[in-house]
Every structure is written in C-alpha cells, then in structure tokens.
C-alpha cells in the first residue's frame, strides 16, 4: 500500500506552515472578510428553525446508526444500485480507487473527463493519478476552476478558493480562451461559463463525489450551488461516482434531516439551488453507464477508534472552518491536507493513519480548544474531545523520552504532592511553569515564546495559600 495522499507530501508541520500564512496580509484580509460574512449568515439561517437542536440530534443518531451497521447498509446500497443498472466497485485505498477510475475512463476511450466538485476524489489525488495515466480531469466548480487553473491548492472544503479575491481571479482567468475583461463578478462568471460550456459539451465521461447514498433505493445525491455539477451529472454518457463508505444513509426519509442540516450550515441557505438525485441508470435519460466506487481509504480503521470515529459523521458542510479562530488566521493550506480547519485536524490524521508523521501529528494541536466548532457542527461532532484524544495518541506514539513528556512527568510529580507543590511555588518555578509556559529548565518550550509578544505576570510576594495560612490557618 502506498502513502495515503490525504495529507500533502512534503507539507511543513502546522506551526511552520501557519507562520508563513500569518504573514500574508492579502490572505488574512480575504479570509477575515469571507468567514465573518458567512458566520453571520449561518447564524440567522439556523435561528429560523426552532427545531434546530432536534435536527442536529437526529442527524447524529442517523449517522451513528450508519457507523454501527456500516456493512449492512453498504451491502443494501450495492444491491439497490446494481438492481437499477449501476456497477459497484470497492476500493480499499487511494491507489486502488484511482486505478479503478482510470481503467473505467480508458474503457470509454476518453482522454478528458469533467468533474463535479468532490472531496473524496481530492482526498485520493485522483486528478494527479488520471494525469499520470494521460487523462485530463477538468474541474467545473467555479472555485475549483480557480484552484486548478491557478495551479494552487484548496484552502476550504466548500469554497476551495476562499483565499483568493477578485483581482487575483482575473489574473488566473487570463489564460482562458475568452478571458474576462474586468474583475467584476459578472465578467468573471461569464468567462468561466464560456470556458466550461465547451468542456461540458465535449466530455464523454464525468466524475463526481456523493453527499449521500441511500441504501434502500440506491439513490446517489449531490448538492451544489452552481448547476455545473448538474451539467456533468446529466450530459456525458458515462458517470463515475467516488463515494466514501460513510456517506451511506439507510432510508430515503433520512434525507429530510440532512437536506435541512447541510445547506443551512454550509451556505446559510434554506435549500441549496441544485439537488441532483439519481438511482442507477434511466434508459434514454442522462448517463447510460453508471459506476459507483465505494472508498475506504482509512475509514474502517477510523471506525475502530471509539472516540475518533465520530469524525466519520461529518457531512462536509464547513461550518466548523468558518467559525474557527485558528482557521480564520492561518487559512486552509496550513493544514497540509484537502481537509483543513477543525474537521481536518481530526480527520486527516486519522485517515492518514500514521501519527509518527510529524505533519499529521501536529494537526491535533492546531486548536485552542475554544469549542466554537462543536457548537455549530450539524452532526454534533465533539471536535475538542477528539482533538485531546488524538493528542494522547500522538504522545503515545512519540514515547516517554521526549523533552515534553519528561517535563510533563516532572510537572505531574510536583502536582502529586502538596509538599512538592508548595516548594515549587516558593521557588517561583511554578509561576514560570504556569504563567510563562514552562521556563523550568527541563521544559521544552523556551519561556521566550510567551514573552516575545506578551508580558508575563510578576511573581507575587506571597501565594494565596500563604496568605490563607497567615490569616485563617
């Protein structure tokens, strides 16, 4: 098995990558503006429903049922899709999924495919794998077009080009056959429309992801805003859908819950503009060949972790990114994965499955544990809980001999007895440990990390307990 491409090869650790993006004033401005706007809108969209909390709980319950009975529902889905004329493939990892898709594209003699925006195909690096096989994968979601033509990486789940502003987009679109003549949103959209129209009409094969797959009916659901997805899903002769196994839903009615939770959380809309649903193949209508690739790629091993598995409830709405104070400052690329922000910090390391990797191991620490993500998550993923859980796994993977582990043991030893605690307090070392972030000589972080930008509190003349003993003891 090759390396799981869910985290980008050669990415620096989060603190290093963050340092770079924090210095990018353009990026900071773009992100602040974008996240502040969407945050406010989501709040009002959610406030319209009195049963929002019940909806969240219902979403959580359905997803937990799916995770507990995944095999049953997947088999049901496979049967339903096959019965309606689709072909189901199973892919253990990225490599296998990419090979299946490439073979299918080759069978159709296509050297170009159009793509619906999809996280699963980004996760497995499908575009790169297809390119290696001589197939051009053309992204058709407007933001994905910006990322693809800019030879850039995505920085947000829903709006992968959130880090770009209009002027930058005009520059990137200059390479189109009919480039935009201004950075007016209308002109930019028109240029993209002309560029994409040609692609839609000539493509023989389309590739998509899936938001949901209904086990009972074999229906696949894709929600989107632009209608470009709808073009891909209806025009080409062949449609290949790559779907993470956790996206299965038991029943058709379950969509009622998720089609309310998702648009309000992600785009702050009551309903998303385009909801495409298809079940297998319909003769004479839409693609006449349909392949569903069910992707594991680290999901079943994530499922084995009792605390960590809740990350698989995620419906990729990106609400947690939009409210995250860390994401707002560093942007998505600092996470070094297609899954950025709070969900990325818990999902990417689990899917990658290797906490010995420095970059993956840095992700669970990319949070102040403020809890804003948990508060908004439509399927109630307790992200702070998973973060501390994964931190414990990182600590275990690193072993007891790291400077940090030794300092933590020393601190625990001090806290383990009143006598030692009071001695450390008197020596002033406890103030430094607690307030300056560990200027104890054995602690790994230089106290200067604190005092670079903030003043440390002055060690008081006497501790509270000394005062208490003097006055009350």
């Amino acid at each position: 098995m090759g390396r799981n491409p869910v985290t980008w090869l050669g990415s620096p650790t989060f603190p290093d990558a963050a340092r770079r993006s924090l210095g990018d004033t353009q990026l900071r401005g773009n992100l602040r503006k974008a996240t502040t706007t969407i945050r406010g809108k989501r709040e009002s969209a959610v406030a319209e429903l009195d049963d929002w909390e019940q909806l969240r709980r219902a979403g959580e319950a359905v997803k937990d049922d799916v995770l507990a009975n995944l095999d049953t529902y997947l088999e049901r889905l496979e049967a339903a899709v096959s019965e309606r004329g689709g072909v189901v493939h199973w892919a253990r990892d990225a490599e296998e999924a990419n090979r299946i898709v490439l073979d299918l594209v080759r069978q159709e003699d296509a050297d170009e495919v159009v793509k619906v925006k999809s996280m699963a195909t980004a996760e497995i690096g499908l575009n790169e794998a297809l390119a290696d096989g001589g197939v051009d994968a053309i992204e058709t979601d407007l933001a994905e077009v910006i990322v693809q033509l800019g030879e850039d990486r995505p920085s947000h789940i829903l709006v992968p080009a959130i880090h770009r502003n209009r002027a930058e987009i005009k520059e990137i679109f200059a390479q189109m056959p009919d480039p935009p003549d201004s950075d007016d949103p209308r002109a930019l959209a028109e240029a993209a429309r002309k560029y994409l129209r040609r692609k839609f009409l000539s493509a023989k094969v389309a590739i998509s992801g899936a938001n949901f797959g209904v086990a009972d009916t074999g229906s696949i659901v894709v929600v989107e805003s632009e209608g470009n997805g709808r073009m891909c899903l209806t025009l080409p002769e062949t449609l290949i859908t790559v779907m993470g196994v956790e996206k299965v839903l038991p029943r058709w009615q379950d969509l009622e819950v998720f089609l309310q939770l998702l648009p309000r959380s992600s785009t702050a809309e009551r309903m998303n503009p385009y909801t495409s649903i298809w079940s297998g193949v319909t003769p004479g209508d839409g693609p006449q060949k349909f392949h569903l690739v069910l992707l594991d790629n680290g999901r079943t091993s994530t499922l084995a972790d009792e605390v960590g598995r809740q990350a698989l409830r995620c419906i990729r709405c990106s609400a947690c990114l939009n409210v995250c104070p860390v994401y707002e400052r560093t942007g998505g690329q600092a996470y070094g994965s297609v899954y950025p922000g709070p969900i990325g910090a818990i999902l990417a390391p689990q899917l990658a499955g290797d906490l010995h990797d420095e970059q993956a191991a840095s992700l669970p620490y990319a949070s102040s544990l403020c809890g804003a993500c948990y508060e908004v998550c439509p399927v109630r993923i307790n992200i702070p809980e998973v973060l501390t859980h994964l931190r414990a796994e990182v600590v275990e993977a690193k072993g007891k001999r790291t400077p940090e582990a030794m300092a933590m043991s020393a601190a625990a030893w001090v806290f383990g007895s009143r006598r030692r605690y009071e001695a450390a307090q008197k020596a002033g070392s406890l103030t430094r440990l607690l307030a300056r972030g560990g200027n104890l000589s054995s602690l790994p972080w230089p106290g200067s990390k604190w005092t670079d930008t903030r003043d440390a509190p002055v060690v008081p003349k006497e501790s509270f307990r000394t005062w208490w003993r003097r006055n009350r003891g």
Binding site: P325, R329, S367, S368, L369, C370, A392, F415, P457, S463
Partner: protein, 243 residues
Amino acid sequence: MSGPRVALFPTCLTDTAFPETGKAMVRLLERLGCDVDFPLDQTCCGQMHFNTGYAELARPMARAYADVFDGYDYVVAPSGSCAGMVREIHPTLCPTSPAVERTYELSEFLVDVLGVVDVGAHFPHRVTYHPTCHSLRMLGVGDKPLSLLRAVSGLELVPLPQAEQCCGFGGTFALKNAETSTAMLADKMRCVQDTGAQVVTAGDNSCLMQIGGGLSRLQAGVRPVHLAEILASTQEEPWVATP
C-alpha cells in the same frame, strides 16, 4: 444560621500567580454568608496535562481532587476552564464523585446556587467583559457574569465587539502555536481597546493573563481584573490596583 460550607478551589494558577483573586473570593463569599474553607491539600485539576495529551498523568490529579473536596456542600472556582475540566472531563478519568458534581464556576455559583445577582459591589470604572471559551461553551454560563456586572454600582459596562472570539490562550496552544495565538490575541486586544474601557474582566485568570500580558506590552492602559475582584469590591473596601 450558618451558610453552606464552601470549599475554594482557586486553581493552581490563581493560587500561585494571582493571589488577589483568591482573597477576593474569600471576601465575596463570606460577605454573602458562606462558610468558606480552603483545603490546603489541593494542587491542580490536571487540565494542562489532559489537554496536551497526557490524560494518564491527569488521572491521579482527578482522583486527588475528588478526595480533597469530598465532604463540602460546594466547590467554587474562579475559572470556567478548570470548573469545566472537573465537571466535564474528570468523570471520564475516574469514577465521578459528589465533589465533582458540586463544583461550580463563580458566576454559576452566585446566580444559580445562591440566587443573587446584586452582590452589593461597588466598582466605579469603565469595564468590558470577555466571555472565556470554556465558561461559555463547556459550562454554558451564558450572560450570568454580565448580569452580575450590571448590578455593580458605579460600574459602566461597555460591550466588547466580537466578544465570543477566543483570545488565543488555549494552554500549551499559546506555546506550540505561538504565532497563531498571538494573531488571535492581536485581534482581541484591538477589540478591547476599541471599547475605551479602563478594565477588561473575565472569569478566567489564564485568559486574562494572555490578554493582560499583551495589553501591558503595548502600554495600552487597560487593566485585566478578574470578575471576583470586581464583585468583591465595595464602597468601604474598594478594589486597589496591585502593581
């Protein structure tokens, strides 16, 4: 008639670095009729260890907490973060105990348990309030601290823009991701300064240490003062700034 037996859990940070907050807790709670004690065997709730990935090292601290605070009617902490650690996390580390269930953050204790909003305080300053993340989202203290502040005579309360944004402290986050933490702090300080307040208050000394540390570096002329110190201040015994 004697009031409830209340154990103070000032937290190791306040005990060690912010004794004035501890003294204020004693004055305030005794003024409100509580029988206050400070069990000397207490040390730390284990939050720093737990949040950094050392749950195993935090476990004995959680056990010790239950032992030390057993037998009191209530345990009160001037920290949403440590009270949250005790109430939400301790039960995952060791069998829960009455001490854990009876642990309150200060504003919760005053409003929910003692049922007071006007604690008879006097604090003639312009104040802005930062709701700390754990008090807000882990404990759900809501606007209890604000109701307490509104009832303080002489106090002019000015709203803090983007109040619910994290100050960037996050324990060891402030060190492991120092630059990001500083960027978050910068925005928080800008919001605090925009209010024109003389005093920024909160229910957690850890966050105040972050905000106050940044403001003092800027010579911003805004003082961090813990909520307990404001509520303890009276006309007769007014709050005095410590150097």
